[in-house]
C-alpha cells in the first residue's frame, strides 16, 4: 500500500498494460478475418458486407466490432474524389475567352483557374530553364510559332556551364567566404564534367521558381498570422498536419488538379514548403523584443513601416532560416516530384532505380547530395551573415563581386565561342557537357555492386533471412494480432495518464479516424515498421550521441555529420540500401534506421549539451564520478530534450517507411504509390496521407505533452 502511494503513476501504467493484454487475450481472431494482400480489396468477395453512405457503396468484412472496427469512413476517399471531379468538371461553368481558337468557350471555373495557374507556372519554369539551358518556349510565349519559323535566330542561347559554375562560386564567396566558394565551384564543375548538367539545371530551375514563390506566400501568411490571432488559429491545425504528412501523399491530389509535369510539381511543392516558412516567420516575429517594437512605435512608425523597417529586419535571421528550410523542402520535393513527371535529377534517379541500374542511380544521387549540401550551406551562410557597413567604401570595393561576375560572363562567352570553333564537329564541351557524354562512373559502381553481391551474397542473404523470419515476421504478426479495441484502450489510456482528459480525447479522435478507415491493417504494418526502425535508431542514436558527447571535437564532428545527412532528400537513402540488400523489407528498414538515427543522435547531443554548466561544476564539486554525473545529473535533465528527439525520430521513420513503398512494402505507403497511378486515386491518396500524419500526430501529442510537463517540473525551458 505504501508503495502504491509512493508511485501512483507507475501503478496506473501497470493497470493500463494489464487491461491491454487482457483484452488482447480475451478477444479471439474471428474466423472470417484474413490479412488482405495488396489489390485484393478491389475484388468483391461474397463474404463482404456493404453499406451505402451519401450515395456511395462501401464494402467491408463483417468483423467483430471488438476485433476490427467497420470501415465507416470508407466513403470518405470516394467522396473526396467525386467532389474533386465535380469541382473540376461541373461546378460553375463560365464563359472564357480562348486565345488560341479566338472564341468564347464554356469551362468550369476551377478548371479554368487551375489551367491558368498551370500555364503561369509552366511559363516561369521554362523562362528560368531556358536562361540556364537555352530554348524557344519563352520567346514563343510572347510571339508565336510562326514568328519563330520566320526568325530562326530568335532563341535563348542558355548560359555556358562555366558562367553558372563561376557565378555560384562568387555568390558562395559573398555569402560564406573562401571555403564555401571553392566547394561551390568544385561541385558545379563536377556536375558538369560528369555529364549531369542538364538534369541538374532542370532541378535547379524548379527550385528557383518554387522557393521564391513559397517564400513570398509563407512570409505573407506568417505576417497575417502574427497580426491576427484568428488567422493563426485557422492555420495551426493545417500546419500541424502538414508537418507530419509524408510529402508524397500530397502528390496524388495535385495530379488530379494540375495534371502531370513540372508545373504541378511546383504548385505542390509550394503547398509543402509554405508551412515551415509560416512557422519560422511567426517564430521570428514573436522573438522580436517588445521594447524594439515600442521603440519603433515611439519613432512614429505607421503599421507598414513598423513591419518592414523594424520587425522584419530585426527578425532577419529567423526568416532566413525559414528560407533555408524552404529551399531544402523544395529540393527534396524536386526529387520526389519525379513520381508525377517533374524533369531533372529526381527523374533520372527514379528511372535508374526502376531499371535497377545502381551505378546510374548513385551518380544522380551523388549530384543530388552535392547540390543539397551546397544549397543548405549557402542559405545558412546567408542567414548567419551579419550586415556589413558599406558607407566608406568606393564604387569598386562595393561592387567588386558584381563587377567580377560581369567579367566572368564575358570570359565565359568568349570561352564558349572558342569552344565552338575548337570542337567543330562534336559537342562544345565549354558550353555544355551533354548528358551521358561526360565521364561516367556508372560502370564502375555497377561492377562494385556485382562484386559485393558475389562476395557477400551468402552472408547478406543469411542475415536477411534471419531478420525477416526471426524478428520481422513475428513482430508484424504481433502487431496484427492486436484487437482494435485493445489498441484504442492503450492509446487513449496513455493519453489520459500523460495529459489528462484533453490529451485522451485528441488521441482518441486521431486513432478512431484510422480505425474507421478501410486501412487499419495497413496502418498497423506501417506502425510496426516504424517502431522497429525507431527502436534501433534510438539505441544507436542515444549510444553514439552519449559517447560523442564525452569529447568536444567528436561532438562537433557528429553534429556536422548530422547536418550533412539531414540535407539529403530521403529518397537518396534508398540507393545504397538497394545496392546492398536488394529489394526486400530489410532494405527499407535499414534506410529507415539510417535516416531516423540522425535526429536521435542530434537531439541526444543537444540535450546533453543544454545541461547548464553551473550544474556540471556543482556536481563535480560534490565529488561525482563521470558515470554518476552522467546518470544522476545529465541524463535526467537532458531527457525531455531527448524525448523531443524521439518525436523527430518517429516522424523521420514514418516518412522513410512510406517512401520505402517504392522498394515494395505492404503498408500505407504502398497504397499511396498505387493511388498515384490510379485515375480515381486522389481521395485515397489524401486519406492515406492523413492516416500517416495522424499516426505521427498521436505520438507527437503524447510526447510533447509529457515533455512540456516534465520541463515545467524540472524548471527548464
Amino acid at each position: 500500500m505504501e508503495l502504491f502511494k509512493k508511485y501512483p503513476k507507475l501503478f496506473q501504467w501497470i493497470f493500463l498494460l494489464i487491461v491491454f493484454f487482457a483484452l488482447c487475450f480475451a478477444i479471439d481472431v474471428p474466423e472470417t478475418y484474413k490479412f488482405i494482400r495488396g489489390q485484393a480489396e478491389f475484388v468483391k468477395d461474397p463474404n463482404q458486407s456493404t453499406f451505402v453512405f451519401l450515395g456511395k457503396e462501401v464494402r467491408y468484412y463483417a468483423f467483430d466490432v471488438f476485433w476490427r472496427l467497420p470501415p465507416l469512413l470508407g466513403w470518405l476517399p470516394i467522396w473526396i474524389n467525386d467532389s474533386l471531379f465535380f469541382l473540376m468538371n461541373d461546378w460553375m461553368p463560365m464563359e472564357f475567352w480562348n486565345e488560341d481558337t479566338q472564341e468564347y468557350k464554356t469551362r468550369p471555373l476551377v478548371l479554368q483557374i487551375t489551367r491558368n495557374l498551370t500555364a503561369f507556372m509552366t511559363f516561369l519554369i521554362e523562362l528560368i530553364r531556358e536562361i540556364l539551358l537555352g530554348g524557344l518556349e519563352t520567346i514563343v510565349a510572347f510571339t508565336s510559332w510562326d514568328w519563330i519559323d520566320a526568325n530562326p535566330w530568335a532563341e535563348l542561347p542558355g548560359l555556358p556551364w562555366t558562367i553558372v559554375a563561376a557565378g555560384s562560386a562568387i555568390l558562395a564567396y559573398k555569402l560564406g567566404g573562401r571555403g564555401l566558394a571553392i566547394f561551390a565551384g568544385l561541385a558545379m564543375t563536377y556536375i558538369s564534367i560528369f555529364g549531369q548538367w542538364k538534369p541538374s539545371m532542370q532541378t535547379l530551375s524548379f527550385i528557383l521558381v518554387a522557393a521564391p514563390l513559397s517564400f513570398i506566400f509563407g512570409l505573407s501568411l506568417g505576417i497575417a498570422a502574427f497580426k491576427s490571432k484568428r488567422v493563426e488559429k485557422a492555420l495551426y491545425p493545417i500546419l500541424l498536419v502538414m508537418q507530419t504528412m509524408p510529402q508524397y501523399a500530397v502528390l496524388v491530389p495535385a495530379l488530379v488538379l494540375f495534371g502531370v509535369g513540372d508545373h504541378a510539381a511546383v504548385i505542390i511543392t509550394m503547398i509543402v514548403a509554405v508551412p515551415p516558412m509560416i512557422l519560422l516567420t511567426l517564430l521570428g516575429l514573436r522573438a522580436v523584443p517588445p521594447e524594439v517594437i515600442e521603440a519603433g512605435r515611439m519613432s512614429g512608425c505607421n503599421n507598414w513601416q513598423l513591419m518592414f523597417k523594424v520587425l522584419i529586419p530585426t527578425a532577419r535571421r529567423d526568416i532566413l532560416i525559414g528560407v533555408n528550410q524552404v529551399i531544402m523542402v523544395c529540393f527534396s520535393m524536386a526529387v520526389i516530384s519525379a513520381f508525377i513527371g517533374a524533369k531533372g535529377l529526381g527523374f533520372n534517379l527514379l528511372l535508374a532505380l526502376n531499371q535497377l541500374n545502381i551505378g546510374l542511380a548513385l551518380e544522380a544521387g551523388l549530384c543530388i547530395s552535392l547540390i543539397a549540401i551546397l544549397l543548405d550551406k549557402m542559405s545558412l551562410a546567408w542567414a548567419n551573415k551579419q550586415v556589413d557597413y558599406f558607407g566608406n567604401l568606393n564604387f569598386f570595393q562595393r561592387n567588386k563581386n558584381s563587377l567580377f561576375f560581369g567579367l566572368i560572363i564575358i570570359v565565359g562567352i568568349a570561352l564558349a565561342y572558342f569552344g565552338s570553333i575548337y570542337f567543330k564537329d562534336g559537342y562544345n564541351y565549354l558550353f555544355e557537357v551533354p548528358h551521358n557524354k561526360g565521364i561516367s562512373t556508372a560502370g564502375f559502381w555497377n561492377k562494385g555492386v556485382d562484386w559485393i553481391f558475389d562476395t557477400f551474397f551468402v552472408y547478406i542473404k543469411a542475415f536477411n533471412t534471419w531478420l525477416i523470419v526471426e524478428v520481422l515476421q513475428p513482430m508484424r504478426a504481433l502487431y496484427l494480432r492486436m484487437p482494435a479495441i485493445a489498441t484504442i484502450v492503450l492509446v487513449v489510456g496513455a493519453g489520459y495518464l500523460i495529459g489528462g482528459t484533453r490529451s485522451a480525447l485528441v488521441v482518441c479522435g486521431l486513432t478512431l479516424f484510422i480505425a474507421l478507415s478501410p486501412w487499419w491493417d495497413r496502418a498497423l504494418v506501417t506502425t510496426y515498421m516504424a517502431t522497429f526502425g525507431v527502436i534501433v535508431s534510438c539505441i544507436i542514436g542515444f549510444t553514439v550521441g552519449t559517447l560523442c558527447f564525452q569529447n568536444k571535437h567528436f561532438t562537433k564532428f557528429m553534429l556536422n555529420v548530422c547536418d550533412i545527412f539531414q540535407t539529403f532528400p530521403s529518397f537518396v537513402y534508398l540507393i545504397p540500401v538497394m545496392m546492398l540488400f536488394g529489394i526486400t523489407d530489410t532494405s527499407v528498414l535499414i534506410a529507415v534506421i539510417v535516416y531516423a538515427t540522425i535526429p536521435a543522435t542530434r537531439y541526444t547531443i543537444e540535450g546533453l549539451r543544454s545541461v547548464p554548466s553551473g550544474l556540471h561544476d556543482a556536481a563535480t564539486m560534490s565529488g561525482v564520478t563521470k558515470f554518476q554525473r552522467l546518470f544522476k545529473i545529465e541524463f535526467p535533465l537532458a531527457f525531455p530534450h531527448m524525448m523531443l528527439g524521439l518525436n523527430q525520430t518517429i516522424v523521420f521513420a514514418l516518412f522513410m517507411v512510406i517512401i520505402g513503398a517504392f522498394i515494395g512494402t505492404e503498408d500505407l505507403g504502398q497504397y499511396i504509390l498505387k493511388a498515384l497511378s490510379d485515375k480515381k486515386g486522389a481521395g485515397i491518396g489524401l486519406t492515406l496521407g492523413i492516416c500517416v500524419a495522424f499516426i505521427g500526430l498521436i505520438f507527437d501529442n503524447l510526447i510533447r505533452t509529457w515533455v512540456d510537463k516534465r520541463k515545467k517540473h524540472l524548471g527548464i525551458d
Binding site: M298, S299, G300, T314, Y389
Partner: protein, 343 residues
Amino acid sequence: MSEPVIKCESVYKIFGENAKTMLKEANGNVDAKTFQENGCIVGVNNASFEVSKGEMLVVMGLSGSGKSTLLRCISRLTDATGGKIFIEGQDLLNLNNKELIDLRRNKMGMVFQSFALLPHKTVVENIAFPLQIKGINTDESINKAMDMVKLVGLDGRENYFPRELSGGQQQRVGIARSLAVEPDIWFLDEPFSALDPLIRKEMQDEFLRLQEKLQKTIMFITHDFDEALKLADRIAIMKDGIIEQLDTPANIVLNPATEYVRKFTEEVPREKVLLIADVMDSTTTEDIGDLKVTKDEIIENVAEKILTQEKTVAVIDNNNKIVGSINPTKIINTVFGGRKNNN
C-alpha cells in the same frame, strides 16, 4: 503658471477581458483583490498628476508596481482603461492613429531599458531612423544624426553596429535616437538599470548635463530610489498601481506619507540628498555667527563648517541676502535623528 505639459486625471489601466465594464461598475473604487478574483490585473490605479514644462518627474517603484505601465499609458503604447490624459492640452486618448503618429514623430522621445536598437542599422542610422520615418531625406537626416552622435559623445563610432558597442555606449545611442526629432517630452524607461554601477553613475551625470542644456519635460522611470533622489525635481512613488506619494525628494525624505515610503527613506543618507534650504529656519535670530552658507548647498558639503560653529549660521541666497538661519544641532538632528532603527 502655464498649462502643464502632461496632465493625468485618474488614469486606470486594468488588464483582463472585462476590464472596461468592471471598472465602470467599480465606480472609481478599484480594489486590486476583487479584480484579481475576477481574472483582472490592476496595472495603474487612479493616477492623477501633472508635469510642467522643463520639469523632471521620476516615477519610482519596485517591479510590478505599475510604473512602466503608467509610462506606456502616457505614451499610448497601451491604451488606458479609464481616465483622461492630456499632452499640452490635447486629449491623448481621443487622438486618431494619424494624429498619434504625428505627435510621436514631433513631440515625444523614448529611451528603453534594453536599449531597443535596431540590430541591422549602424549607430548613425539608428539615430537617423525616427527622422527617416518622418520622411526627411537621407543626407539631411544623417547630418542631423551626426550632431546627435556628437552630443552624446560617440564621435568616431558612428559606423559601428549595436552589437559592437558596450551597454553604456548602446544606451547613448538610444538617448541620441530619442532626441533626434528634438521632442519636447522625453520618456525614459529605466534607462540605466541594465548598466554596471560605475557606468550607471557616469550616465546619470551625463544625463543631468544634457538636461541642463536641453530643458526637456521628462518622465523618468526607475526602481532605484537613490537614482530618483539624484535626478528628480519631483518623485512619484508607486506601489501596486497606486501612487503612494508625489513630492519633491526633500519632502519625501523628511515627511514620508506612508509606511511603505518610509521604508525607502530609512537608509537614505540625508546629508547627501537634502539642501540647506530644506532644513533651515526661515526666521533669523539675533544671535548669528559670521559664517554664511548658500541655501542651495547640499548639507554634506557644508556640514563640517557648520558643525564647528557654536552659534547659529546664517543662510543666504544667490544675491547674498540673508533668507534664514540654521543651528548646528539641527544638522545633527537631521542627519542622525528621527530614524527608528538608530535608536
